[in-house]
Symmetry: C2
Subunit: 338 residues, 2 copies
DNA sequence: CTGAAAGCGCTAACAT
DNA sequence: ATGTTAGCGCTTTCAG
């Protein structure tokens, strides 16, 4: 059970050649005799030789690894992001080192450090909800490691970015409810200190204004998780009755789905009596009853785009200008809840 | 923007010391003068020195990284597994290199290779559905890299394992349906070359036998994804009618939920006409309509247990006997679909 | 066409 | 108490 990796030196010794010759033979260096190449290659194949990636990285001063810092893998949006990143990265010969911050600032700091320690060639990051200080990221930046922020960006650090147009997404969702005949629309909102929280609320307000509907502060309730919905159930039901609510725009899908379930326990029919729309479009939307209308946030493309921007930096080192921000527009996914 | 990591040598040069002294000072070697230590440490702190993990690994012949090969991160079970692994690993100073095979054999081979190339200290793996040949894994094993299989194990390779008692879980699920009055139970099964596929089928058969119900091969249909359900919809509906199906045990939750949706489009009432139970207990179970009864499979514990077994091997190298298999027993989660 | 030697960043046995 | 040296596995100049 002891480690027994074959090294270049091993091959050289057995074949009575020098390590340099073996190295060159393996990578088809023109100087090497065809005979020798064949000999070395077949032998290497036979003994299942694999170059040591660490030694290579150390020598080349390039790890061909990019680091990814992500809040929570369980969320469908983020796991789609991972797929987008990996598909591009693998194709270009890069490995991805995934770190999950678990929405925890301390963990994020440690993760960033680990990525720097491993000398990743670049970092992709979406910051945790609890991160308010950015020195750890700036330190990576100062170390000369190219970075790209996606989704949860840090405005203070100038880099390439990929974001979703939350404002427009919320507007699309709210417009849709209005077009479906809703007059009194409840918004279940995320905390306003989060960019997605305030941007989505603003989009909601804009849609109302565009249709000459007067906004009502009472109809904006801070409530952005499934659990939150059930704990506010009493309050929400009262509100819905008093204000004659006929539409709900929730800041994410799981909140929207929980809201539907809460309404249904009171015998309210969806979409007949109240129409509901979410934000995100994970697989839950299809599973919900009725299937949830929502705006689709493009996780896969977000990841792909972020990786693309990073690759660009990696291929053009030294050029630290012209940072670009890619904005992805979410699209309406109508199902049966509206 | 150019890479500018400080090295031991840099510090040595500037402080006019030898690299070894700096190295020792940094790790509190008793031989080193307190003055020198202080000098070195404060300077290292100041310039934000961080040892190069690659150089360290190369030198120590130990990467403190463990590799994880997992079919699909999106599945709740697997992302829980990751959390279980990480929590333990980080605590012990290990990093986790996550590879997603995407249920693709080719990718799994490449991933395994990448882990070997990076000289991970150990590997945790749950094989993809499409994997039939195990040479890639055996090669890691032969290289002396300790492995632990979890969930989707490979029986041909002797290692430590963590599995769910699929047999018992299936039995629990099927018994539950029978107790709820079902007589003709359809089983939506996973491919039989997967251990979880055959074990769950066997548990189903055992439950039937225990209750004197004659098994009917026609009632076991290979169908283990949401998409599969909809593509087989015609066939399934016919079967349900002909065989007077009154209960369905699906090999996983999303298949169970898709089945409920398919039935509902035909006006079939759940649980009144047909009762449905799944396997896994992800968050989808709560969102489904009606909320899905299922057996709870413990992802977090699976990951933790697998990592625990691996750590044991890493701490006792050379002992390649007494491989143990940890079996976790799933528990019934009754909701409204039965 | 092949080999010797240096070095990527670090540690540790062996000096002094 | 500190320095020298060798070496982890590899590539790449520089010499033959």
């Amino acid at each position: 059970m002891k480690s027994n990796h074959v090294t270049l030196k091993d091959i050289a010794r057995i074949l009575e050649l020098s390590p340099s010759t073996v190295s060159r033979a393996l990578k088809d260096h023109p100087d090497i005799n065809e005979e020798t190449k064949k000999l070395v290659k077949t032998f290497a194949e036979k003994v299942n030789y694999r170059p040591n990636a660490l030694a290579l990285s150390l020598r080349k001063q390039k790890t061909n690894t990019i680091g990814l810092i992500i809040p929570e893998i369980v969320h469908h949006f983020f796991s789609s992001v991972i797929s987008g990143i990996e598909d591009l990265a693998y194709g270009e010969g890069y490995n991805v080192m995934i770190c999950q911050s678990n929405e925890n600032y301390q963990r994020e700091v440690i993760d960033t450090q680990a990525l720097i320690d491993h000398r990743v060639d670049g970092i992709l990051v979406s910051v945790s909800k609890t991160t308010r200080d950015y020195n750890h990221l700036r330190s990576a930046y100062d170390n000369g490691i190219p970075m790209v922020f996606f989704d949860r960006i840090v405005e203070e650090i100038k880099t390439d970015r990929v974001i979703t147009d939350d404002f427009q997404g919320a507007q699309i969702a709210t417009n849709h409810l209005i077009e479906r005949g809703c007059k009194n629309i409840l918004h279940l909102a995320a905390p306003q200190h989060l960019v997605i929280g305030s941007r989505r609320k603003e989009g909601y307000l804009k849609a109302l204004a565009d249709h000459g509907i007067k906004a009502d502060e009472d109809l904006i309730v801070k409530c952005d998780t499934r659990e939150y919905v059930f704990s506010l159930q009493q309050h929400l039901m009262k509100l819905i009755e008093q204000k004659h609510i006929d539409g709900i725009f929730a800041v994410n899908d799981s909140t929207a789905i929980a809201a539907m379930q809460a309404l249904q326990t009171k015998g309210i029919k969806i979409p007949d009596q109240i129409k509901v729309i979410g934000f995100g479009d994970g697989p839950n939307a299809d599973i919900a009853y009725p299937p949830l209308s929502t705006v689709e946030q493009k996780g896969y493309e977000t990841g792909r785009e972020a990786m693309r921007l990073l690759l660009q930096r990696l291929e053009n080192p030294g050029i630290e200008i012209n940072f670009s921000t890619k904005v992805l527009t979410p699209t309406l996914k109508q199902r049966q809840s509206t």
